[in-house]
Subunit: 163 residues, 2 copies
């Protein structure tokens, strides 16, 4: 199954928009690559699903502790140091807003999705496995306070899934 790169540009654009405007964090997107093994992610990961009649996709956005703590402090004007509730809420919010922004751009390409509630995974050294044969695209991002990355797995559906 070929890598679906339709999703890359909308998510890069939506992430950069969010980080530079709402979080006021300078961010640089790296070169996307295909995920080939089960690698451990950051310490905190937001997961969200996009479910449509013809396509389904799942997204994981995983942060190093230093990156998400800095982003949260920028957004809330705080001096948080640990992965407390405000940070978890921020991960959920970033996941939701970035996906919502990408969705608007994907609509222009003919994709129609509903978006799930985000879930946030906590735990040092956790990994996320997307249970599908479709390739997973990883987009790395770097900030002055550490890295984060987005994994996207998208699939065309043969039959209608929303009924």
């Amino acid at each position: 199954m070929p890598l679906n790169i339709d999703f890359v540009t909308p998510f890069v654009k939506s992430t950069v928009d969010f980080m530079t405007t709402m979080a006021q964090v300078e961010v640089k997107a790296g070169k996307p690559f295909a995920k080939t093994d089960i690698t451990a992610m950051g310490e905190v990961t937001g997961i969200i699903s996009m479910v449509g009649e013809k396509h389904t996709a799942s997204l994981a956005i995983s942060f190093t502790k230093s990156a998400i703590v800095a982003i949260t402090n920028n957004m809330l004007g705080g001096t948080i140091k640990e992965l407390e509730m405000d940070v978890i809420d921020t991960v959920g919010e970033v996941t939701n807003i970035v996906t919502g922004g990408a969705k608007k751009l994907l609509v222009l390409k003919g994709y129609k999705f509903g978006i799930s509630l985000p879930s946030v995974i906590l735990g040092k050294g956790h990994s996320v496995v997307h249970t599908t044969k479709a390739p997973v695209v990883v987009i790395p991002f770097s900030t002055d306070n550490g890295d984060f990355f987005i994994e996207i797995c998208s699939m065309s559906l043969k039959k209608e899934k929303v009924n």
Copy 2:
């Protein structure tokens, strides 16, 4: 927001059906309760989303290592001892089939959903936070080889989400 118990019976029934027929594992459902804090889950967790026009829900099914290894060996006729790829695949499959079974029962109650691809989370002591103000229902299950539990978080949507 009140606990939505519409989801409890369909998921209990679907889980017990799956475990007794496809996995040939005797399972006992415990009393459902409301999740009130961030508690660590099992060692491996399947996550799936249900996205409809009027409702959205997310489900996490989390297994102790001993429980899921026994279930996998029952299903595949193997002698696996660790959380290897077959076990991860089984978690994805259980998550998918149990949710598909519950969906059929929820349709009879007027719920209409599309189901996302499942994701599987690995990592000792990870936790899953459902980022919503809606209460999370936990249904505990026990087997001879250990416990697993299902967390369900469901929410009515004010506006249409699948567009």
